[in-house]
Structure formats: structure tokens, C-alpha cells
Amino acid sequence: MAKNDFSLGFLQYLMTSKISISKISKSMDRLHIDPCKNLEFVSPNNVKVAVCPLEIQNYSSIGDYLSQLEQLVRAAAGGGAQLICFPEYSGVLPAFALPSFEKTALKLAELIRAGDSGLKEEFRSMADNLIAPVLDAFLYSMEQLSGRFAIPIMAGSALVMEDDKIYNRFYFFSSSGEIVSTYDKIHLSSVEKMLGIEPGKKLEAFDCELGRAAMLAGNDLQYFEPVKILSRQGTSLLCTGWAKPAGETDLSMIRAAEGNLFILKSHLLGGSRIGTDFNGVSSVLAPFPITREKDGVMARVTEEEGAPPFALVRLDLEKQGEVFNIYTYDTNTEFYKEYLLSSYEK
């Protein structure tokens, strides 16, 4: 245990020195980022959004990590994007700038697979040492990218320690680099529960520069309830980040139809080196009648040669109000009051 504490303490020292705010700031300055003018004119019937998947990889330095993000944001901004979405756990990626972090992550993955009783303690020990510096690096990077490019960014999520509890927290940055909203994941995965991550409790739509938005994690989309709640709060743009294990069902297209809103979904990919296999197709989804092929897809990231590593599409948010489906439009409040909430006690 003592050796483990020392190793992690040393890791934290390395983190602090390798990914300091001043280091990130210098890297940013070297990238010569000028603000884009994409938000000079915003019209709800002509909003351009991008979803950017991220692949888990080792970085030789924090500059590499920043470079990866900057290239994506620059390309999306160059295409006219007025909002960019990143995946769940993008805030953990700065940790891969440490050469020994992969080993730590691999060990954790082995404990998870074995259902080891010491898993929570091991994770907690790692979290106590690493969460703060990794989070600082992530938030500062996203603050700088959104502010310097002058584009709102749904940054994805990171692990956050608050009042001795660990949350999987999503962040939305404005075009001036300010945090507009956060969301703590409500429907945790089985692995997150094993690690002792604390589930969130709040579902809140918020106003962003493009309209009414909200955030969810991909796993939240297995349930209709959060989507309906956010839809009733006026959400047009539901920004979703997902670290989806291979083989897990994706119901996001159906939720877009059910909730009558646009879903911007970005996936975390890969991770085979640390014993995970995240996959999924990052997409922008809409109610079926709005999409050309009636398939719910406005745009998706493809692996075609020459295709950009993100999906960029124009949305007409006013079409959301024009969707009138005679099969789905009806409501029955009396039924809901009598049966729905009491269902969960059965």
C-alpha cells in the first residue's frame, strides 16, 4: 500500500509538472488561434453543429493532446461550425500524456474484469492523486479552445471530486470560454457503479448561444425519462457524449424521435491497450420526419477515404416545431398521473 501511495504521489508530481496551466497556455500560444466569425450571425433555422469523436491514445506530451483537439476544432470551425461536441471521458485523456498512466489504467481494467474486492479502494487511491490535475488541464484546455476560437464547445466529461464524492461531469463552454452549464451523469454504467462513482440528480436545460440546449451521457439514452424531461424543458439541442462499450445497444436515434429534438452524439473510441473497447458512430440525429431518408440521421462520421474525422451539418431548429405526427402526438396526462411514477415501486 505504501509503495502504491508513493507511486501515485510521484505520478501526481509528474502530472503537475507536465501539464501545468502555464505549459498549456504556452502550447496554445504556439498554435496561433484566431477567433472565427461563425457566431456573428446566428439564426435558429440555420445552425451549424459538429460532433467530434476522440480515440484513446498515448500522448508524448500535453502539447500532443492539445494539438489533437485544436486540429479538430480548427477544421470544424473552418467548416462553419457554431457548436462542437466532444465525447464522454474526453476529460480523462490528458492523463495519457503520462508514460506510466496506461499501466495504471490497465491494472484498473484487470481489477474490473476480475471483480476484485479491492477495486474501489484502488480507484479511490488513483483518483485522490490524479483527478485534480487532470481536470484542471482538461478544463483549461477547453476554456482556451472555446474562447480563442470563439465557438461554444460541449467538452464531454471528466471525473470530478466534490465533497469526497466522484462524479462523471459534463461541461458546456460558451464562445467566451465560460462554463455555461454542467451535468452529472445520472444513469451510471455497471463499471462506474463498481468504481463507486456517484450518480447525479439534476436534469436542466439551459440557454446557449444557439438556443435551448441540454447535456446527457449516452447511457442516459437507454431511458426515455431524461429525454422527455429535457424536451419538456424546451430543449432543442441535446448534446451527448458516450464511452459506449462494444456490443451495447444504441437507442439515440429513437430518443431523438420520441423526444422531438436534435441529438448531437459524440463517441469515445478504442482503448484496446487498456482492456476496453469503445465504439460507436458519432452522429447528429433528428426526428424521423425531418431527415431526408426518414432514418433519423442528419449526419454521421464515416470512415470513407478523405472524409473528415467529424460530422458537420446544418440544422433548422424551427423544423422541430413543425413535426406533427398523428400517431405519436397524443397525450394522456390522467394515465401518466395514475400509472407512471407508481410503476417504479413495483
Binding site: 445520472i186 444513469h187 451510471l188 455497471s190 450518480p199 440528480k201 439534476k202 436534469l203 447511457n219 437507454q222 431511458y223 426515455f224 425519462e225 431524461p226 422527455k228 424531461i229 419538456r232 424543458q233 462494444a246 456490443g247 451495447e248 445497444t249 444504441d250 437507442l251 436515434m253 429513437i254 424521435a257 420520441e258 424521423f288 426518414k294 432514418d295 433519423g296 398523428i326 400517431y327 405519436t328 402526438y329 397524443d330 397525450t331 394522456n332 396526462t333 390522467e334 394515465f335 401518466y336 398521473k337 395514475e338 400509472y339 407512471l340 411514477l341 410503476s343 417504479y344 415501486e345 413495483k346
Partner: protein, 232 residues
């Protein structure tokens, strides 16, 4: 195991069928014809010694489906809780939710557009429904894969249930188990001709596993805090 058969109305089922679902091509049997229709259904159930899920009919201004036992007893009638908006002036919405226990498991009859309403499905599955039998009418011009995805497919996958869907354009049976490949969820694919019979296991461990995972993952403590939004 349940040997489930899908047939055109009053078409003889395949041998060995234990439960029949009528796959009708008309939107519903009108109220004035309903008594004769039900009588004919009762005779059918007795003749072939099967449980029978009827097609849609109107009774006392409600759009209904009936569940009839092999002895001809009408076990129950489920009334639609939501309506196709074209029926709104003529028909009423019910606030009933009835589940029927059979030797194969608890079933729920999902009338017409109720399949598109997650509140109904959540309420039925959390009350033990393992088999959802959905009978709906979809205008030919409106029909497409998306009508199945948002309806029967959604019902199977979001709640971990076995779903039978019959409509005037197609029929299918879906198993709500965890898999990334949509084709694996169709126990009976969409283009199947009638009559057809399929043996289905309502206690399939893969379906039960998904259902259990979903139910355990529900957050009623959060949902209650947003009752105003959920109950609208």
C-alpha cells in the same frame, strides 16, 4: 416456451400453436359489427383450442383489443390510452392498464398507437409484462422502417420485453436483448408471410438480463423530482 402464431383474421393456425394473434388489414372493426366479431373470435379460440388476441375493434367509443382463452372465455379487453389523432373526435381515451397472466407469462395488449408512448410501456413492463402484443394500423403512405423502430423495436429494447407487432403492412416479433446488431433482435423478420408460428421463450436469459439491467438502472428518485415534466 410459447408457440405463438400470427394469422390473418380467422385463418386456421399452424399445428401446435398455443396463442394466436390476428394480423388485420383494416383500421378497426366498427362498433355495430363488434358483437358479431367477438362472437366469431370466441368460436375460433374454442375451435382451435388457442389463446387469441383479436384485432382492433370499437366498443362504447373505445378502441379495443380482446384476449380470449382456449375455452372461449373473454379474459379481458384492453382499451387504447392514446389515439391516432384522426380518431380523436370519434373515440375516447382510456386510463386503464390491464395485464393478463397466462401459463407462459404476463402479457399486455398494446392497442394501436399506444406502442409509441413510453409511459404506457414503462407502466406495463414494470408491472411484470413479459410479452407485449402490439396491433396497429399505419397508413401505407406513412409506413416505413422508422414506424417499427420508434414503435415495436423501441418497446423491446427500451424495456427488455418480447414484442409482437402486427399491422396492416407487416408483422414481426422482437426480442429485447442486448446486441449491437439490429437483425439479431428480430425473432421474426418483417417480411414473413402468414400464417406463421414461432416458439418463443419469454424467460430467455438474454432478455431477462437486459430487462433487469434496465430496471435496476432506473432513477425514480430523480424522475419524481421532475413529475411535472413527466406527467405532461
Amino acid at each position: 416456451m410459447l408457440s405463438l402464431g400470427l394469422t390473418q383474421p380467422f385463418q386456421p393456425p399452424l399445428e401446435g400453436t398455443q396463442m394466436v394473434v390476428f394480423s388485420d388489414i383494416k383500421n378497426y372493426t366498427a362498433e355495430y359489427e363488434a358483437p358479431r366479431y367477438i362472437k366469431k373470435c370466441i368460436n375460433y379460440a374454442k375451435e382451435y383450442n388457442v389463446y387469441l388476441v383479436t384485432g382492433r375493434f370499437v366498443a362504447t367509443n373505445f378502441l379495443c383489443m380482446a384476449f380470449i382463452g382456449p375455452d372461449g372465455q373473454v379474459i379481458g379487453v384492453q382499451r387504447a390510452t392514446h389515439l391516432n389523432l384522426t380518431y380523436q373526435t370519434a373515440l375516447k381515451r382510456s386510463t386503464d392498464l390491464d395485464l393478463y397472466d397466462t401459463p407462459f407469462g404476463r402479457i399486455f395488449l398494446c392497442v394501436d398507437v399506444d406502442i409509441y408512448h413510453p409511459e404506457v410501456l414503462r407502466s406495463a413492463v414494470m408491472r411484470g409484462a413479459k410479452l407485449i402484443i402490439s396491433s396497429q394500423y399505419i397508413e401505407f403512405v406513412d409506413y416505413g422502417m422508422h414506424t417499427i423502430l420508434q414503435g415495436a423495436y423501441n418497446a423491446a429494447m427500451s424495456y427488455g420485453a418480447t414484442v409482437v407487432n402486427v399491422n396492416n403492412n407487416s408483422r414481426c416479433i422482437l426480442a429485447g436483448k442486448e446486441t449491437a446488431r439490429r437483425e439479431e433482435q428480430f425473432l421474426l423478420p418483417l417480411g414473413t408471410d402468414l400464417p406463421v408460428m414461432l416458439s418463443i421463450d419469454l424467460d430467455d436469459p438474454a432478455i431477462m438480463a437486459r430487462r433487469s439491467k434496465l430496471e435496476q438502472g432506473c432513477r425514480p428518485d430523480v424522475y419524481r423530482a421532475y413529475a411535472a415534466e413527466l406527467e405532461r
